[in-house]
Amino acid sequence: MTPPIALEAPPGRRPVTRRPNGPVLPPPPTGGGDEPEREPSDGPPALDNLRLAILFLIGGESVFFAALIAALFVLRLGQPLWPPPFQPRLPVGVTGVNTLVLLASSVTMLIAVRALARGEEARAVRRLALTAGLGTLFLLVQGYEWVRLLGYGLTVSSGAYGGTFYTLIGAHGVHVFGALIWLGVTLVCASRGRYADGRTAPVRACAMFWHFVVGLWPILYVSVYLL
């Protein structure tokens, strides 16, 4: 391949590089989501391809969970008593505190993204780590409660009560776990300075999914534990 030819620039002007085999191609269309932040404008932020892709993912997940919650109510209405007699009660108090832990993780994620947008990378990494810690704590408490419930005899085969509980809460737990892996990768990349120079789109994508998983939990908590 022939190297580009550097033309000598007139005094006071920058040198121009021209490719020998034709004009310079126009830059690729933007919208991939990984370009540096643009200047802030008055209108809403641009809906780039990455953000749209995450919204597609969240849309699919929303329909999935809506179907599971609908199944829960269909099965509940078919039962004369809920919870059925001789079945353990769900830990409402501990899970309520755990809900606050998960909601706090959404706040720390918000702070992390804002810190990264301002260029405070060290602060953003610390807040991302705190978010991951809160998410892990949520999963650990959930796992502990599951072990206790299994010890009390509530299994996935304990009729509609156990079946809907483990399916709904388990599906959410899997999503939190997946979001934690995503967050872990994002955290490692952030600590290595991958999101410097305003390239924060991957972090914003991760944050969108995290906020979705957190926002979903209170709906599940009310549907499964409180109603």
């Binding site: 269309p29 933007t30 919208g31 641009a46 809906l47 780039d48 391809n49 953000r51 749209l52 919204l55 597609f56 849309g59 929303s62 329909v63 809506a66 179907a67 919650i69 609908a70 199944a71 109510f73 269909v74 209405l77």
Partner: protein
Amino acid sequence: MTSDTRNRQTLRVLLAIIGALMVAAFLVGIRW
């Protein structure tokens, strides 16, 4: 048509589909 405009149109279609599916799930849930 810019990428932003095209993406917003796609998002509107997506939201319409999700809305319809959510309403359907709700109606099934209340045994319509």
